[in-house]
């Protein structure tokens, strides 16, 4: 097994080639409809993946905002590259002890799925040949690239894809390791390690989806597969295991097909056979085309990955033209009866088949794709880009792009990196994660597990909180991780919670409730504490005492107003000394006085 990782992290700067902000926005105000076409690349080979996408012939609608500029609508040439983004990349290159290129050449990487308005992504290599040490051995970092993030896919209609351009052009650091990762667990460790180095620059965007991992996986006799966009570190080992299993099963299928002397037959129009069918999908369809398969029984339905069968792989290929397919191993089902299945088998004089329904042209094209996929199954495994599914399995998205999809970005002149720049950046290098981890463990008396968690979360934020507030590291982690489990990472909101906890204004048992309310958009912590009764008992008791004292001194208060605080403070403290902090007593007292 060989695994290589590609890690993408968004930088928290302006866009790479203009001065626009990179915050995600709602409510676009402008729609721009475009079409993309295949082009001949630098070396005049039409890229395989690009070509395949163009078959889809989709229209793309780019949703822009009031302050979107022309650069990322592809209506103006790029401005100079963002200096902060380049310098951050250089920092990372230096931290990974990689070679720095002496001159940066931006390239255009053809991407015609529509996610880049121009039809290409700008990308450049900043560094090469870095290295990281893991407990499973050294892993080489082949390249460190700086590139543009893509637009966000918003929704898809029949022939149109809608994209939001707010994310397009956000600087993205891409690190690619050599395919030297040997175990699923090592995959996770490498991702973690690189993630920590990236975070150490303090220039990373926070939040869901700001760091994404691609996994390149191959096994012996298998094929190189790229799983694109894994967000959850803990899932890395799962995807690796599942992909290895998928490839092993596909190799088994290959052997089985050859052994059985399986065969792909002709396409039959069996629309009439289904004229009285109960299957809703077939009823609606103009044509029912059936592909005859010989000796495929059991193979179509064979599970090759969690909840994925060989039939699912065929359906993926057909998806460009039809939403789904039926195959004989899953029938009777979906309203197709046993009788109908048998009549098809009889008609074909075969043991298995695939049904596609749609217009004639679409169904035929879908079957051509399916035939293409089955033909590959006899040879082995196709090289593909695959989409990660939640359960650890993956689905096909497109063929693995070839090499001919890169040519110089001629609108951006080469960017020289001087020795002085490097010297300057060397002075600004942050503490390396490994060193930092050791220091944190010692300084805060932490165990290995918690330090690792803090390193993953945000060691700088941790130190900032420890300095400002009197709370335990375990509480820091509990709060941060709880909030993350609700999908939130807002540091300012977290800080409010730390503040309340440190001042004894919120019971520990209330952390989860407060954060859950925060995540729902209710940000007033006092109201939440009131509503769910999350005050420490001491404070509640103090409130009662103070209320009583206030009631007893109504006359004084009516005369003096706010100034009654100093008069009554002494009496309150006499009753509460040692039980509640004076500051809190003062606050409650003032509040109660104002109620009078």
């Amino acid at each position: 097994m060989k695994v290589g990782l590609e890690i993408h992290a968004q930088l928290d700067t302006k866009k790479l080639f203009c001065n626009c902000n990179t915050e995600l926005m709602d409510n676009p105000t402008k729609n721009i409809e475009r079409k993309l076409h295949v082009t001949v690349s630098e070396l005049e080979e039409i890229d395989r993946a690009a070509f395949e996408e163009s078959l889809k012939n989709k229209k793309h609608v780019y949703e822009a905002f009031d302050n979107s500029c022309l650069v990322y609508l592809d209506e103006e040439p790029p401005h100079n590259p963002n200096k902060e983004a380049i310098e951050t990349s250089l920092k990372i290159v230096l931290l990974l002890k990689a070679d720095i290129v002496d001159q940066i050449h931006f390239m255009r990487k053809i991407v015609i799925d529509g996610s880049n308005v121009s039809g290409f992504q700008r990308t450049t290599i900043i560094g090469l040949n870095g290295v990281i040490e893991t407990k499973y051995g050294n892993v080489k970092i082949q390249t460190i690239c700086l590139e543009e993030d893509a637009a966000r896919k918003d929704r898809e209609k029949k022939d149109k894809i809608f994209w939001k351009v707010d994310r397009l052009g956000t600087p993205l650091i891409e690190l690619a390791t050599a395919p030297t990762i040997r175990t699923p667990e090592q995959g996770k460790e490498v991702a973690l390690f690189i993630g920590n180095i990236l975070k150490a620059t303090k220039k990373l965007k926070r939040g869901i989806g700001t760091i994404r991992q691609d996994l390149n996986i191959s096994i012996e006799k298998g094929a190189r597969i790229e799983i694109k966009g894994v967000q959850e570190l803990n899932m890395i080992p799962v995807y690796i295991k599942e992909e290895v299993e998928r490839q092993e099963n596909l190799l088994k299928i290959k052997g089985e097909l050859q052994k059985r002397n399986a065969n792909i037959g002709d396409i039959y129009d069996l629309t009439d056979l289904f004229k009285d069918t109960q299957c809703k999908i077939i009823k609606k369809a103009e044509k029912v085309l059936v592909l005859k398969l010989e000796n495929f029984s059991g193979i179509l339905g064979m599970e090759i990955q969690k909840e994925r069968r060989f039939g699912s792989e065929l359906a993926d290929y057909a998806r460009k033209y039809v939403p789904g397919i039926f195959h004989s191993d899953e029938l009777p089902n979906y309203g197709i009866s046993e009788d109908e299945k048998n009549r098809v088998l009889e008609k074909l004089k075969s043991d298995s088949f695939v049904i596609v329904t749609s217009t004639n042209e679409k169904a035929e094209n879908a079957l051509k794709e399916i035939i293409k996929r089955i033909e590959i199954a006899f040879q082995g495994i196709p090289e593909e880009t695959r989409r990660p599914l939640e359960n650890g399995a993956t689905s096909y998205s497109r063929p693995l792009p070839g090499k001919a999809r890169m040519y110089p970005e001629t609108d951006v002149p080469p960017y020289n990196i001087s020795q002085q720049t490097i010297e300057k950046i060397k002075k600004e290098l942050p503490e390396m994660p490994k060193k930092k981890k050791t220091r944190l463990m010692k300084e805060y008396n932490l165990n290995e597990e918690n330090t690792t968690k803090i390193m993953i979360y945000d060691p700088d934020f941790f130190e900032e909180i420890m300095e400002k507030y009197d709370i335990k590291p375990t509480i820091f982690l509990k709060v941060a991780e709880t909030y993350k489990s609700f999908g939130c990472e807002n540091l300012e909101e977290l800080e409010i919670v730390y503040d309340y906890l440190s001042r004894d204004r919120l019971v520990k048992e209330g952390i989860e409730t407060v954060l859950e309310e925060f995540s729902k958009g209710n940000k007033d912590i006092d109201k939440i504490i009131e509503k769910y009764n999350l005050k420490p008992i001491s404070v509640m008791n103090a409130e009662e005492t103070i209320k009583r004292i206030v009631q007893e001194n109504r006359n004084t208060i009516e005369k003096k107003g706010d100034r009654a605080v100093s008069a009554l403070m002494g009496e309150c403290m006499k009753a509460l000394r040692g039980k509640v902090d004076g500051k809190i007593v003062n606050e409650i007292l003032l509040r109660e006085i104002r109620k009078i």
């Binding site: 079409k35 082009t39 070396l43 290129v101 290409f120 090469l128």
Partner: protein, 410 residues
Amino acid sequence: MKRVKVRKGDNVYEGIEIPSVDEKYLVLKLDNGYNIAFRRNEIKVDIIGEFEKKSKKIEKKEARYRKELRDVSIIGTGGTIASKIDYTTGAVYPAFSPEELEKMVPEIFELANIYPREVLQILSENMNIEKWKRVGNAVIEEINKDRSIVIAHGTDTMHYTASFLSFTLKNLSLPVVLTGSQRSSDRPSSDSRMNLFCSVKFATTDYNKVVICMHGTMEDTFCYVHKGVKVRKNHTSRRDAFQSVNTKPVAKVYYNGEIEFFEDMPAKHEKRAYFDDKIEEKIFLLKVFPNIAHEILDFLIDQKYRGIVLEGTGLGHTPSILYNTIKRGIDEGVTFCMTSQCINGRVNMNVYQTGRKLMELGVIPCKDMLPEVCYTKMMHVLGHARESDEIRKLMRTNIAGEIIEDTVIL
């Protein structure tokens, strides 16, 4: 190109050496497609082989002649619509032959029988009178074969060319459509494909005038067709940079091939078309600005310029400091025409004293003519007329649609 091994410190990189603009650097195309560059004095380079470009031969398909379709000649002049990458300068340069254009836009072959012809290979900023003449003559040759014309042109000066051809192509019986692209044709998002499609489509109509056909908006939905004498490049980079000024466009051509006309079809010419090559070359286009000095005008008169288009301020004014020199010029036979740098609207030299004074001196107010149009019109008019009264009359008479007597609310 050479395949090389580059040693930098402990690391070795292999790839193709790409010509570099800055000779201090070696640019290497790695096998993964990226270009990287190193300072030459810090590396060791070994040549390990020759790199052969896999040049796939373009299949020369015999174009099938379809009787039911019109014939359209696509004349190549260079520009972004036909551009490739220059490794040496790192810039885009014109290179695609019209044959290559065919490969890029196969759908135009459904619209017409296509006859590509390369006349020039230049960036449009290098357009000049001699080249205009070559284009004009080529157009006539093709028109006389009963072919409509699409001219692929760089966008920078396309409106000058369109205007020039509007005055010099006489008795046109078929459309002459100029088009180009604002985003280079190597990129998937290029506007060249739709522009070419819509232009060829429009060339199959009977609109027998010189027009510019370019994106109507930032979207790939339709092109506007503009009169060659009423259009201007009004944006440095947007797809819809070309806009009709003081008038509506001629038509909208949708990407599905539908055409919506905003005006009637012009009258047909029975006479044979010809290119009128009587041109006065010594014409100058001068923008008036605060602090302009009269010496510059004196210089132009000394240099024997025969016509000067003033791009005046507002309704058609110059600072009074120029009066004496303008008088000198007119006395020496130089024609002065007034247009406005406001671009939109028309000149009116009656409103202020300055305008009246300039008219008194003999400056010709050129109504709602665009400065660039006035410039090419003067080349044409002065190529024919010598007498100042005749020149004045011709400059103020509509020849090719360049003058509209009333400024309509648009």
